[in-house]
Structures are given as structure tokens and as C-alpha cells.
């Protein structure tokens, strides 16, 4: 159903070339709100990936039945239904996980990346490709969230993985890394402005890296330029 090349290019697209956090700059609301530590970032990233995979698959499955004029309301409806179903089911059947991720699930509805992928990709492609694309995009977002979370947590509190006990239980309390002992804390990094500053630096680094790659390619293969 899907060649290795296709698979690879979808992942390259989602993780690097069209990364939602660094390149498309979509879904910044939850990105900025939740990235104040590694555990929150990872939880939100994975929850978003799950919702995106489900909604992209569903949208792709019904794409032939949806007239162009009403595609946005139908996609919004599908996403809303799916998010609510996931929210209720997690609350009922995996309650401990829900206690950790619960607050993030409604937040996902504010993430336009879910609708963007449904409209830009899933509405035009087969279900398998759409699900893979959604997972790749979700993982790309998770990656940026993780880096952002790590930067902010390190700069803000001098730790990594604080709050891990909320996910893995009381025993995990010892897994918190105190990278900088006796750190006084840097509040700005944890507050929302810290998210903007850190994300700005990340985007700048990504752009610099891309510009350099292009320049190198020019030097080595003049014909390509």
C-alpha cells in the first residue's frame, strides 16, 4: 500500500521540512502554554499525535462523501466528536492517565494543526498515508515541545523531568534530575514570555541551520544553484 520512499518522505516532511512548531508555526497556543517542563510537553505532544492520527484517518475515510463547500464544518465536527470520545473514554477506562493528560485533551481542540492537516493532507490522500502523515506531524510537534520544555525547565528550575511522579507514580520521584544543584530559579523562563523567547531562539537556530545547508550545497554543487 505504501512504498518505503513515500513513508520516509512523509516523516521527513513532518519532523523537519514542514515541522509544525518551527516551520509552519501552527498550533502555538498549546505549544507555548504547556512547554514549561519536559513531562508536560511530552504528554501534550503524544496526546495531540493520537488525536491527529485518529482525525486524519477518519477525515480521509469519508473524503469522497464530503462536498467541497461544507468540508470545513464536517471536518470540525469529526474532530470535535473524536476529541470528546477520546476524552470520555480515557476518563472512564484509563483514569490514572486521564488525571495527567486530562487537562490537555480539551486544549488540543484549540490546536489548529489538527484541522490544518485534515484539510491540507487527509482530505486529498488515502487513509494510510493520512495517518502516517498525522503521526509524523504529531511527532514533529512533540520533538519541538520536548526541546522547548527541556530548555525552559533547565533555565527556569534547574531540573529535568520534574513532575514525572504524576505520570509514573510516587516511585518515580527519584528520577527527577537536578542538573543544576542549588539553582535559584529563573522565573521568566517558566512564565509565558519565556516560551516566546525560547521558541524564537529555536526558530532562529533552525533557519540558520537551513541557510547554512543551502549555502554549502551551492559551494559544492554550483550547477544546482
Amino acid at each position: 500500500m505504501m512504498t518505503m520512499n513515500e513513508f520516509r518522505s512523509l516523516f521527513h516532511n513532518g519532523l523537519i521540512k514542514q515541522n509544525t512548531g518551527l516551520v509552519q508555526l501552527l498550533g502555538l497556543c498549546p505549544l507555548l502554554a504547556i512547554s514549561n517542563n519536559v513531562i508536560n510537553a511530552l504528554s501534550l505532544g503524544l496526546a495531540t499525535t493520537l488525536v491527529m492520527a485518529a482525525s486524519s484517518g477518519a477525515v480521509s475515510g469519508v473524503r469522497h462523501f464530503v462536498p467541497n463547500e461544507i468540508r470545513i464544518p464536517v471536518f470540525v465536527l469529526i474532530i470535535a466528536v473524536l476529541v470528546t470520545v477520546i476524552d470520555l473514554s480515557m476518563n472512564a477506562f484509563v483514569h490514572p492517565l486521564y488525571l495527567v493528560l486530562g487537562i490537555f485533551i480539551p486544549l488540543i481542540t484549540t490546536n489548529c494543526i489538527v484541522l490544518a492537516r485534515a484539510d491540507a493532507f487527509a482530505a486529498k490522500n488515502r487513509p494510510l498515508q493520512s495517518v502516517v502523515d498525522a503521526i509524523a506531524m504529531g511527532l514533529g510537534l512533540t520533538l519541538v515541545l520536548l526541546v522547548l520544555g527541556a530548555i525552559r525547565e533547565l533555565a527556569g528550575k534547574g531540573t529535568l523531568f520534574s513532575g514525572i511522579d504524576l505520570v509514573f507514580g510516587e516511585a518515580a520521584k527519584g528520577w527527577v534530575l537536578h542538573v543544576l544543584p542549588n539553582y535559584q530559579g529563573f522565573l521568566l523562563a517558566i512564565l509565558p514570555p519565556g516560551a516566546f523567547i525560547a521558541l524564537g531562539l529555536l526558530i532562529a537556530a533552525n533557519n540558520w541551520y537551513k541557510a547554512r545547508t543551502v549555502q554549502r550545497a551551492r559551494v559544492t554543487v554550483p550547477a544546482a544553484a
Binding site: 462536498p67 461544507i70 465536527l77 470520545v85 504524576l166 517558566i190 512564565l191
Partner: protein
Amino acid sequence: MTSQIQLALKNALRTGTILFVFALIGTAMLAYTHGRTEPTITRGQLAEKRTLLGQVMPATLYDNDLLASQQSVPPDDLLGTRQASALWLARRGGQFSGVVLEAVAPDGYSGDISLLIGIDANGTVTGVRVTAHRETPGLGDYIDRAKSAWIDQFSGKSLTNPEPKHWKVAKDGGVFDARAGATITPRAVVKAVNSALDYFARHRAAFAAPPKKEPDA
């Protein structure tokens, strides 16, 4: 001209019907999920509430069904409530042994801080928990038991211990410590616990009265 209108109408009817069908399927899915999950969710919420009550009221203090003893009380300035709130009466051997109050600290750094306060029959705090707050993450959120044990220092305190002029955070000359840089949050909590004790003192007689057979207000 009429054929154009007819075509437009036909088209609108077609897309409308499709949208309607999708809405119908969506609603059916939601209704089904709701029906399947609701009993489990309600049970989970009750269990959670019971655990929470157990954290502020030690099990040795009561032998009644605490959750079933819920009563509603009108809003009161001392509780900081603007709407009716709940309280739970603890009894042991039929004797009044304590109460769990819902209270609100309205003057937190960022909005209301909802509290659950356990008080025994002598007016001594048995436990306090923050149930909802919007204080700054990493700064004012240490009042949450999941983040630090700060809230435990209220246990064993009463209106006379410490004396009223020391019912303050350390920075204001009281006995309750607070972290540097975040004093507004603990100040609000200390004040709310103190006035909840005051509320208890004024209503103790009503709490201690034998249970009446009347439906909850």
C-alpha cells in the same frame, strides 16, 4: 433563470442533507460513548471525592459514610463563597466528631483558590487541600499537595494555636512560612483557613446537633 434557482436549491438541499447526516452520525457516536462511560466516570469521581475527604479528615475520627453526609450551605463571607457550598459532617458512634468545609480564598495571585478544610469537633484543623487554583506554575503552586508539603503545616492548628496575631505568613510576623517571591498566594490561603475556623466556631452548635431527617437543601 428558474432552472438556475432550481439548481442552486437542489445543490443546497444536497449539501444540507450531507451535513445533517454527518451531524446525526456524530451525535449518535457521542451519545453512545456518553452512555457507555458515564457510570464509570461517576464512580471514579465519587471515589476521588472520597479519597480527597479522607485526606483532610482522618479515618479514625469517623464511622459514618462521610460522602453521604453532604449538606449544602448558603454563601458566606467567612467561607469566601459566592455560591452555595458543600460540607460533610463526620460522626463517630453517633457523636459529632468533625466537619469538612468547602472554602474559597478569593484573593490569590490569580483568582480564586478552592480549598477543602477538615476541622475536628474541638476546632482543630485535621487537614487542608487545594482542590483548584490558577496560581503561577513553579511559583505559587506549592500550595498544591502534589507539588509540596507546604499545606500540611495547617494540621493541628486552631483559632487559639497560634494566637490570632500570629495567624499570618512569616513575612507578616506570623508562624506560617512562605517561599520568597510568592507571598500573596500563601497569605490568601492562611487567611481563608483562619476565617473557615471562625465560621466553624460560629456554627459549631448547628453541626453538633443530632442529624435531622430532612432532605438536603
